[in-house]
């Protein structure tokens, strides 16, 4: 039970996971690139295709299961986390993938999102964050920046947004990563790590909605500005970024600070070294909060802390109880406690209990 993924290498390709359904996302939507990356990752995992289950809630992202040739279920709005938990508990051998968006998981499904993070079933969550409601045509979402004008906020939103990373980590998520939909290589690498993590892995994909919120992530993703505004974190490596790889992150009494290598005698040794395995949430939370223009957005695996999964805890107990319970069948159970035998009554009209 400890390793629910069959690591035996199978000869699978991307084509094994492409469905025959027409993909109906808008041309230019970031979802297309995410789909291709997932199709690239599945054959690499050594899992037979029939053991994948892709589930979703409602929203543009949630059409995803129809486009994968796996078992799949398109659920109801916000509830994919509950579907995924039920599937994983019922059959821990399955590789369960949950596709959701910022409306689906941060608003209507906010409750389920925090609870799946807390419970830690081995479910891989891809959270497409485009900071807008796309399918309903352009209302603001819980991640829309405060003040942004949308169809339902003509004067700009009045609400402070969620940061999915800090929300997840606050809810005790064991694995959190962030990627951009413009970088297939990065997505593939991080999705692989998420899949191999035994526990709930949450990957926030900064995804572009070309119709209703175009270029919302452009500071982080555009060719001109991305090098200065994103940092890809790798375990054990110093936190360096910038076009010339001459910038880094240090920690001082005020928190994280962007520094330039060579200035004020700062060398690589002075920089923070990324440790996603650190149990303490402090630095991981600070990394999630970093956003341009003051900081680069943190990408890659930010947090990866192993702890027992929900299904392991449940099924280990089930196995234990099977070994140790005196009750071997429901017949035994029905006969526990206070029972009494009634002999045939001489009076004929005995009660006919079913």
């Amino acid at each position: 039970m400890a390793d629910s993924i069959d690591t035996k290498k199978l000869q699978l390709t991307k084509e094994d996971f492409e469905s025959d359904q027409m993909v109906k996302w808008c041309p230019g939507c970031g979802d297309h690139a995410i789909l291709r990356s997932v199709e690239n990752v599945f054959p690499e995992l050594g899992i037979p295709p029939e053991n994948f289950v892709v589930v979703s809630g409602i929203g543009c992202s949630s059409r995803f299961p129809y486009y994968m040739n796996t078992y799949g279920m398109h659920g109801i709005h916000g509830r994919a986390a509950a579907l995924a938990t039920g599937i994983k508990l019922a059959n821990p051998k399955l590789s369960v993938w949950m596709i959701t968006g910022d409306g689906d998981s941060m608003a209507i499904g906010g409750n389920h999102f925090i609870h799946i993070a807390r419970r830690n079933p081995d479910v891989n969550i891809l959270l497409f964050n485009n900071k807008i409601y796309g399918l309903t045509k352009g209302q603001y979402s819980p991640t829309t920046p405060k003040g942004q004008k949308t169809k339902s906020s003509p004067q700009g939103t009045f609400e402070r947004p969620f940061n999915p990373g800090t929300l997840a980590i606050g809810a005790r998520a064991t694995f959190f990563a962030r990627v951009v939909d413009t970088n297939p290589k990065m997505m593939t690498e991080v999705f692989l790590e998420a899949a191999r993590f035994h526990g709930t892995s949450i990957v926030e994909v900064l995804q572009n909605c070309v119709i209703f919120n175009n270029k919302i992530h452009s500071l982080i993703t555009s060719r001109e500005t991305k090098d200065e505004n994103q940092i890809f974190l790798r375990a054990g490596e110093p936190m360096i970024f910038g076009k010339n790889m001459d910038k880094g992150l240090m920690m001082d009494e005020k928190g994280l600070r962007v520094v330039t290598l060579g200035e004020n005698g700062i060398t690589e040794k002075d920089l923070l070294v990324h440790n996603p395995f650190e149990e303490d949430t402090g630095i991981h939370t600070m990394l999630c909060e970093m956003m341009p223009p003051d900081y680069p957005a943190a990408l890659g695996v930010i947090r990866s802390v192993k702890t027992e999964t929900l299904e392991d805890a449940v099924w280990n107990t089930i196995e234990y109880e099977k070994q140790n319970s005196p009750l071997k069948s429901v017949d035994d159970l029905l006969r526990t406690g206070n029972t009494w035998e009634v002999e045939d009554d001489p009076r004929k009209n005995g009660k006919k209990r079913r």
Partner: protein, 615 residues
């Protein structure tokens, strides 16, 4: 002096009600009396009556906890209308229960509790033991608290602890009154307080003291005996409705070879199902306590997709929250049992009281055309068979099933003849074999119209389902107008065809005639008792009582047409009667409704039926 033996009166049945403060241990007292009743071979049914608050202010009427048992030498179908014997441990419990006792009841009171302070708390201006309030009743005044303290003096325990067993003194007195053996009760003490020998001794001594006190002072002018009931040969036990529901589900899971998955959120009066199933992991049963009602049902739907026998349990407000997800289970055509233990509504309503007011919600409370099977359990013990049948129908017909029970059935208990699981009807879910070349997600069984159940992890059956409308046969997403009409009709027809797999409606009494009374679900016991009594008294009146609400038994219309007048009785404002009016527009239905958070009483039904007969 008259010896005890000479003054034993044989009774056919009796109703005893134990009442005291929430902390007085009345539920335990009642259940110990039930155990001894079983040992005496009587048939019985019980009902607890306790406040919605966990610890309402001590000594007040709001804080009174009661337990009623109806036992007899013939079939017992109800926990009894009015008590023949009331044990009142304080003034508040006397006050709260005066309306639930017969006009000439025996009332046992603890006089030590009738202090001025307690009388005021109970809202008595004068002492009811002295002001004539109880005239007509036989009042047995016993200083129970003092005598309890005396009884354990040798054990050197403090007064407060000593007084805790005063309920056992009262129980001892009632045991004497009904000539009961207390051997079983002693065995219980030895089990329950294994680690605390002093408590075992204290309880035994107090119980014996109560018994001997009743004997010695000859407070009872007579004692009573009820001969064993003519139960058929077999092994019996006592079950509450919630326990029976849980066990019926476990039996169905075992019989079908499926894991059991319950996704549930605690809610009164359904929580015991979650608690009971959480105890039985050895049977591959997962009880998942979800973060809310919606996650409860949706996790169950997930487990159903993955191949488990899926259940969610709730009560009214929770059923409201689950509506959208029930629609998902209808659209995906996955098996799912939704147990709704009805309580008083709307909104939070009367959480600890019983009602039948969720029927329309069960039938129609969803967006779209969303038919489901609706069953209603008829008694606490029947909850076992109803839960089993609900699971069988859900899995074999690939559809959600709503099982309606109610607070009275859930908390009430009755005698249950223990079946062998192997004797229950087999359950054969339509699980698809690996690589089945003919598999299509929505290709249907020609007879049942059920779709096949293809489980993730099986080779060659990969498919996608979801809440969007499905194309017939392939299950692909479809917006086609004619396909939607066809699929809507198929989903309805699939549920209607279940009528071919359920028993016909039975009529008790004349099979045709002047008057038929109709009921459904939890009113079975009380309606049956009323009709049986009236028929013994020579009245011509028949009963048809429904367990299958959707679909209705196939012969329903034909049965109803055989009677000149039909009276539909329900604990609501008339939901089933309106459903019948819609289903059978040519038939005239009269109705009798009660909505007080209380079950029908046999006496009020008989009065109403007599009036109706003469109308």
């Amino acid at each position: 002096m008259v010896s005890k033996k000479d003054k034993v009166v044989e009774l056919e049945n009796a109703v005893v009600r134990f009442a005291g403060d929430s902390g007085d241990g009345m539920q335990l007292t009642g259940s110990l009396f039930s155990d001894s009743t079983a040992f005496a071979g009587n048939d019985f049914a019980t009902f607890p009556d306790y406040p919605a608050e966990i610890r309402a202010p001590q000594g007040t009427v709001a804080g009174v906890s009661g337990f009623q048992i109806h036992f007899g030498s013939s079939d017992i179908h109800t926990s009894g209308d009015l008590a023949d014997v009331l044990v009142a441990m304080n003034p508040a419990s006397l006050k709260a229960n005066m309306k639930w006792i017969t006009h000439n009841a025996i009332i046992i009171v603890d006089t030590d509790a009738f202090t001025e302070k307690n009388l005021i708390k109970a809202g008595y201006e004068t002492n009811p033991l002295k002001d004539g309030t109880l005239s007509g009743h036989s009042v047995i005044e016993a200083p129970i608290t003092t005598l309890t303290r005396e009884a354990v003096k040798n054990l050197n325990i403090d007064n407060k602890s000593a007084q805790k067993s005063k309920n056992m003194f009262a129980l001892g007195m009632v045991f004497y009154m009904f000539n009961r053996d207390y051997k079983k009760t002693f065995e219980f003490f030895e089990q329950k307080f294994k680690t605390n020998p002093i408590v075992i001794r204290a309880n035994k001594q107090v119980l014996t003291a109560g018994y001997n006190y009743a004997d010695t002072i000859e407070v009872f002018t007579r004692t009573y005996k009820i001969i064993p009931a003519p139960l058929t040969k077999g092994l019996y036990r006592n079950v509450t409705g919630n326990l029976a529901t849980s066990w019926g589900l476990l039996a169905a899971a075992e019989r079908s070879g499926r894991k059991l998955f319950l996704g549930s959120y605690p809610i009164t009066p359904a929580s015991e199902i979650l608690q009971e199933l959480s105890k039985h992991k050895q049977f591959n049963a997962i009880a998942f306590q979800a973060e809310d009602e919606i996650a409860g049902i949706v996790s169950s739907i997930g487990s159903s997709f993955a191949g488990a026998m899926a259940v969610t349990s709730t009560s009214g407000p929770g059923l409201s929250l689950k509506s959208e997800a029930i629609g998902l289970a209808v659209m995906t055509e996955l098996p799912l049992v939704i147990v709704n233990v009805q309580r008083g509504g709307p909104s939070t309503g009367l959480p600890t009281k019983s009602e039948q007011s969720d029927l329309m919600q069960a039938l129609y409370g969803r967006n779209g055309e969303a038919p489901v099977i609706v069953l209603a359990a008829q008694s606490s013990a029947d909850c076992f068979y109803s839960a089993y049948e609900a699971a069988k129908l859900a899995m074999e017909h690939m559809t959600p099933v709503i099982l309606l029970t109610d607070g009275s059935l859930a908390n009430g208990s009755e005698v249950f003849k223990i079946p062998n699981v192997a004797d229950l009807p087999p359950i054969k879910p339509p699980i698809v074999k690996a690589n089945d070349p003919d598999y299509k997600p929505y290709k249907r069984d020609p007879e049942k119209l059920s779709r096949p159940w293809a489980l993730p992890g099986t080779k060659g059956l990969r498919h996608r389902i979801g809440g969007l409308e499905k194309e017939d046969v392939t299950g692909n997403v479809s917006q086609d107008p004619l396909n939607h009409q066809r699929m809507s009709e198929i989903r309805e027809e699939k549920v209607e065809r279940v009528a071919n797999f359920i028993p016909d409606l039975e009529v008790l009494g004349e099979q045709e005639g002047d008057v038929l009374v109709v009921g459904w679900g939890g009113t079975y016991g009380v309606m049956l008792t009323a009709i049986e009594e009236m028929r013994k008294e020579g009245q011509k009146i028949s009963l048809a009582h429904f367990k299958h609400i959707k679909p209705l038994p196939k012969n329903t219309g034909e049965v109803l047409k055989r009677f000149k007048k039909i009276l539909v009785c329900e604990i609501n404002l008339g939901q089933f009667v309106n459903h019948l009016r819609m289903m059978f527009p040519g038939i005239v239905f009269d109705q009798y409704n009660k909505i007080q958070g209380l079950p029908f009483m046999v006496s009020e039904l008989k009065e109403k039926f007599n009036e109706y007969l003469n109308d």
